[in-house]
Amino acid sequence: MPRLTGLFDSFDNLDQISMEAIASWLKPVPQLNQLEDYLANKILYPQALPLTEPDMQIDLSILREALRMNGPKPGFQKNNALLGDNPFLNVTLRKILIPVKFLNFVPDLMSLTLVFIDALLLSREKKDYFQDLWTIVLTDNIDEIVGSILLPQFDGSGGVMNLELQSKNYEIRQGNLMLVPCPKDRCEIAYKLQKGKLLGKKENAFEIYGGKLGLVIDGRSA
């Protein structure tokens, strides 16, 4: 069996991540010097796996910050439609690109997807309604679509989204996140929002990509 490389092989600037930023994702917050030693050992021994659940949480927080750090830089040509502003996003096609090898280190696809949403989409400036919908793609030699992300825009507090999928009804409140299974390639959804919009409308019905993960509906605000 070939030896695994590390989760963070794609990043060469992990040492530039601030400890405060990593700590902000963790509860309880560990001591910053311990966190710094943890990250340094991660850089020194990139192949090592986390053994405990708290260690996995630290790894995921490091990954969030590593993904964020590889976002747009000052001077980046924002009007170049061919280039995304992050190697893990295809802005033109509204795709979030998760390398399949990351699953060797974080086998839980939902946890991994959540990390990508937190890092790349949660605080992303939305320039048009289409940025409310993203397709989740596992990238390898052959890409695999595993689901979609819906980001409803609530205006004010107490917003609710009612979603119908495959004759089942779901309710997503503002500030919450929900995973709705939809193993088919295409899923028909219908929604209605109170105090909010999705894709510029309060209610609508359309088809989106499903897959082995399904639909992630994120009602959290940045």
């Binding site: 710094e36 030693d37 340094a40 020194l44 796996l49 053994l51 405990t52 996995m56």
Partner: protein, 382 residues
């Protein structure tokens, strides 16, 4: 199913290599190419004359700068020795008496009447250069004041480090898992290479620099302290050399990590002996204390030197090897970091770890317990 793990060179015994002996200042070298040398043999002599020390006598005597000159016991231009009376101020009934002695040997060079500061220039000092090793002289570079000697050493490879090549007498400060603070560093460790335990605190590293310690060998170091000495970056292997005034080799990783038994046992055998330390390459060279090593040294030819430069070929990772029971292994990562033991068993099926990750588990028997770790967290020791 085959499971591979990286093969890490930690200790390399009885290697024929070249070491450089360098004069600390301008001087003469009195050996010739091909000459056989022994450790106590003086192969050169240098004179150190540079340097001075400034004392703020106005503050130390609690007088105005203009009053300092009349309180000096010696005149400007005169020689003074360490501990000799330098300045004296009479006191009154309620106190105020001040007695100042010279902190160093030197010459009273200059007194600034506006600031009350006295400059003492150090006396020129002659420093002998012993060979330090049993070996054969290969190069005598009078321009650089350097002699390159072919010799036999045991090499220890640390994980990373900082600082140029230095040498000194090895001194072990305590147990392999001790925490080293400032109070452990004494002035008599001048020119020594100190072996600590699991962590050298920042104040201990600073104390080493102040005391003139040539090298530090430790199991772990705080990432923040290492970043401070490595230009703010954590890049392995290092791309840029740096030096903070002492050389450090970290044998295990970041945080408090005891020095591995394999390395500590060998270092313990070298207490009080002369060793070389190269922090930037993370290598410690322990010269053979046996005169019989000269036989192997004489009979071993090394590749030609390029421009008389000593380039150490350092490669700690020697590829991958299949994991098999009985192999000596070392645990890496953030859990059980640095623990060493014998590989007892490798599981046939994948195990779901408490972290949620999956890997094949192996059982390692250490000196005091048996632990199970994923294959990914193992290195095979050489």
């Amino acid at each position: 199913m085959k499971h591979l793990a990286p093969l890490r060179m930690r200790v390399e015994k009885d290697v024929i290599t070249r070491v450089a002996r360098v004069l600390v200042g301008k001087g003469v070298l009195n050996v010739s190419v091909g000459q056989q040398v022994t450790p106590p043999e003086i192969i050169g002599m240098a004179t150190i004359s540079a340097g001075f020390r400034t004392l703020d006598l106005s503050t130390l005597l609690s007088v105005s700068p203009q009053e300092v000159e009349k309180l000096l016991v010696k005149k400007i231009g005169q020689r003074i020795y360490k501990g000799e009376l330098l300045a004296f101020k009479k006191g009154w009934l309620i106190g105020g008496k001040k007695v100042l002695t010279s902190p160093t040997d030197g010459v009273l060079d200059f007194l600034n009447n506006k600031t009350g500061e006295l400059k003492i220039a150090f006396l020129p000092k002659k420093v002998n250069l012993p060979a330090g090793v049993y070996g054969i002289v290969e190069v005598v570079d009078k321009e650089r004041g350097q002699v390159i000697i072919r010799t036999q050493v045991t090499r220890i490879y640390g994980m990373f480090g900082s600082g140029r090549s230095r040498d000194g007498i090895l001194h072990i400060l305590g147990k392999k898992d001790g925490l080293i603070s400032k109070s452990a560093i004494q002035t008599e460790y001048d020119d020594c290479v100190l072996v600590g335990g699991s962590l050298f605190f920042k104040d201990a590293i600073s104390a080493c620099i102040s005391a003139g310690v040539n090298g530090i060998i430790t199991g772990g170091i705080d990432a923040k302290d290492y970043k401070g000495m490595a230009g703010g970056r954590l890049v392995f292997p290092k791309k840029l050399d740096n030096d903070i005034g002492t050389s450090i080799v970290v044998c295990e990783g970041f945080g408090s990590v005891p020095i591995g038994t394999d390395i500590f046992e060998i270092l313990s055998g070298y207490e009080g002996k002369f060793v070389f330390i190269d922090g930037n390459k993370a290598v410690i060279s322990l010269p053979s204390p046996l005169s019989s090593s000269l036989v192997k040294t004489k009979n071993t030819k090394l590749p030609e030197l390029q421009n008389n430069d000593l380039i150490l070929d350092v490669g700690q990772i020697k590829g991958d090897l299949e994991l098999k029971s009985g192999l000596k292994v070392r645990v890496v990562g953030n859990s059980y970091l640095g623990e060493q033991g014998k590989l007892v068993a490798v599981n046939d099926s994948l195990t779901l770890l408490p972290s949620g990750a999956r890997d094949y588990l192996v059982t390692v028997e250490t000196a005091r317990r048996k632990i199970q770790v994923p294959v990914a967290n193992l290195e095979i020791m050489v």
